[in-house]
């Protein structure tokens, strides 16, 4: 029972990372109309930038700021490339955006594995992860780290903020209108390109925050991490129902818990394979996603 509780907590904290990544992916899909499955690669890139800044300056704060800033910058720089394709919405296939995303992911992954830390995985300082301070709560077998609590709390707050933004603000209303009917949104005078650009900025901030949380929670990163997460995020989004934000939230957390339980009771190194087999079964049973696609 104690193992179960501990693993559920572990699962919730890694699950909240999945939720953040899936939410970013879904927002780009709904509002900017791109399939950006390399979004997690951009996030891992920001982890690396954050690590570089921390190593060079010795300052955790500057590293955090640098990581978040780099995610926003990468998103804003790549936005025009995607938007060029989407300028003539409706007549252009969304598939072209997948190729761009795939290419971006490969380039970034190559840069990470060739130029940073001679291709070795990077490790974040204890000052960021808090690993040197031991567990925050420790009862029997249940031990909860500061990083886990931080990830969960900030993850929940950030997702709550996103939902507030989507459902209570002017920009969010425009996002939802475009998500439901881009042509209809255009006819009521919502500027599609400008609003799409806002969604890039927003997902940039989201990606940056996620990068920092991942650094805190995982304590390390490798060049291949982005691809691995990219697959999971795409799978979660499709299983939940493409573009379904609430669905992504639930499935993201469930995937985290599922993986943690596999790691707790079965061989840890099989958690990816088993998780994907479970997802395979779910998608066979519910091809349009558990909660329905919003596309």
């Amino acid at each position: 029972m104690e193992i179960l509780i501990a693993q559920i907590f572990n699962g919730l904290s890694i699950g909240s990372i999945y939720v953040l990544l899936v939410t970013g992916f879904n927002l780009l899909l709904l509002v900017a109309m791109i399939i950006h499955f390399s979004f997690p690669v951009v996030v891992v890139f920001s982890m690396y930038i954050s690590w570089v800044v921390m190593t060079l300056t010795g300052s955790v704060t500057l590293g955090v700021v640098g990581g978040i800033a780099s995610a926003i910058i990468v998103n804003m720089i790549t936005a025009p490339m995607f938007q060029h394709i989407m300028k003539d919405r409706g007549s252009v296939d969304i598939n072209a955006t997948m190729v761009i995303s795939m290419g971006m992911g490969m380039v970034i992954t190559d840069i990470l594995s060739h130029t940073f830390n001679q291709g070795f995985p990077i490790a974040f300082p204890d000052a960021l992860t808090g690993n040197d301070q031991g567990a925050l709560i420790s009862v029997g077998l249940v031990s909860i780290s500061r990083g886990q609590v931080l990830t969960l709390v900030i993850g929940v707050l950030f997702v709550a903020f996103l939902f507030w933004l989507l459902y209570k603000t002017r920009a969010g209303r425009a996002f939802r209108a475009i998500a439901e009917d881009p042509n209809g949104a255009k006819l009521v005078g919502i500027p599609l390109l400008k609003t799409g650009f806002q969604s890039y900025a927003l997902t940039g901030i989201l990606g940056g925050v996620t990068a920092v949380l991942m650094a805190v929670l995982l304590g390390s990163a490798s060049a291949g991490l982005g691809d691995q997460l990219g697959h999971k995020v795409l799978a979660v989004s499709i299983i939940a129902g493409l573009g379904n934000l609430t669905g992504g939230l639930i499935i993201g957390l469930l995937l985290g818990i599922l993986e943690a339980i596999i790691q707790g009771y079965l061989a840890g190194s099989w958690s990816n394979a088993i998780a994907f087999i479970v997802m395979l079964v779910v998608i066979l049973a519910k091809p349009k996603g558990v909660f329905g696609s919003k596309l």
């Binding site: 209303r173 439901e180 255009k186 009521v188 005078g189 919502i190």
Partner: protein, 238 residues
């Protein structure tokens, strides 16, 4: 402002989608305070005219003037800001969003005074007030059309373009919608209307244009068109 002032003036407008010529040398005008109706079959170009005026299509050639400004190629959001709004064919309301959200989308470019505007809209359309927190997908066809018109009002327009409002509505509801349009016109809104329900539309309009495959084939006062032999034969079944 003089009655005879044109709020919208289109000169020799041509529009193409790829190689398909949608509009061919269209000239028409809407004067302030008028209801002008575009009649014609499906695919005659009624929607193309409205969407081009709104800025959703870029003209191949020709000129569009709105309130004396040249607006060919001006994007939709700017035109909406300048005082025109389209009530699209099939209502174009966002069914997953609440009535309130749909209305506020009409005022997206300027949310100032939106509370006052909402109050006015709810006064004119009490049913929308009662259902403000409901998603638009739960409304009936007539209520959706009301919502689409009310959303247009939220944008503080001077000219409202209404594309095929009667489509898919029961005759009695169509009468209600047309009455709403007449009342709006009396309040001072200029209206460009497109309709396949030619008789009812000409009954409420001041003037009309007949469109056939992208060209204007006839124009005149509503009365002239109602009494025109060819129009009667083609559109009124008499």
């Amino acid at each position: 402002m003089a009655q005879n002032d044109s709020i919208l003036k289109i000169n020799n407008l041509s529009v193409a989608y790829g190689h398909v010529q949608a509009l061919n040398d269209i000239s028409l005008d809407v004067k302030r305070g008028e209801i002008v109706v575009l009649v014609g079959a499906n695919g005659a170009g009624k929607t193309s005219i409205m969407e081009t005026v709104l800025g959703a299509n870029v003209p191949v050639s020709g000129d569009i003037e709105f309130k004396g400004m040249h607006i060919g190629g001006v994007p939709v959001d700017k035109n909406v800001r300048n005082g025109m709004f389209l009530v699209p064919e099939g209502r174009g309301v966002f069914s997953s969003m609440t009535v309130m959200d749909n209305l506020l989308l009409g005022a997206h470019h300027n949310l100032k005074n939106s509370t006052e505007k909402l109050e006015l809209v709810f006064e004119s359309f009490p049913v929308l007030g009662e259902r403000r927190t409901q998603v638009a997908g739960t409304l009936s066809g007539g209520e959706r059309q009301m919502l689409a018109i009310a959303r247009a009002l939220m944008s503080s327009p001077e000219m409202i373009m209404v594309d095929e409002p009667s489509i898919g509505l029961a005759p009695i509801i169509v009468n209600d919608i047309f009455e709403i349009l007449v009342n709006l016109n009396k309040e001072g809104y200029s209206i460009l209307l497109s309709e396949q329900n030619v008789y009812k539309a000409l009954k409420i309009a001041h003037r009309g244009y007949v469109l056939e495959t992208g060209k204007i084939t006839k124009s005149g006062t509503a009365e002239e068109l109602l009494n025109d032999e060819a129009v009667r034969e083609a559109y009124l079944g008499a």
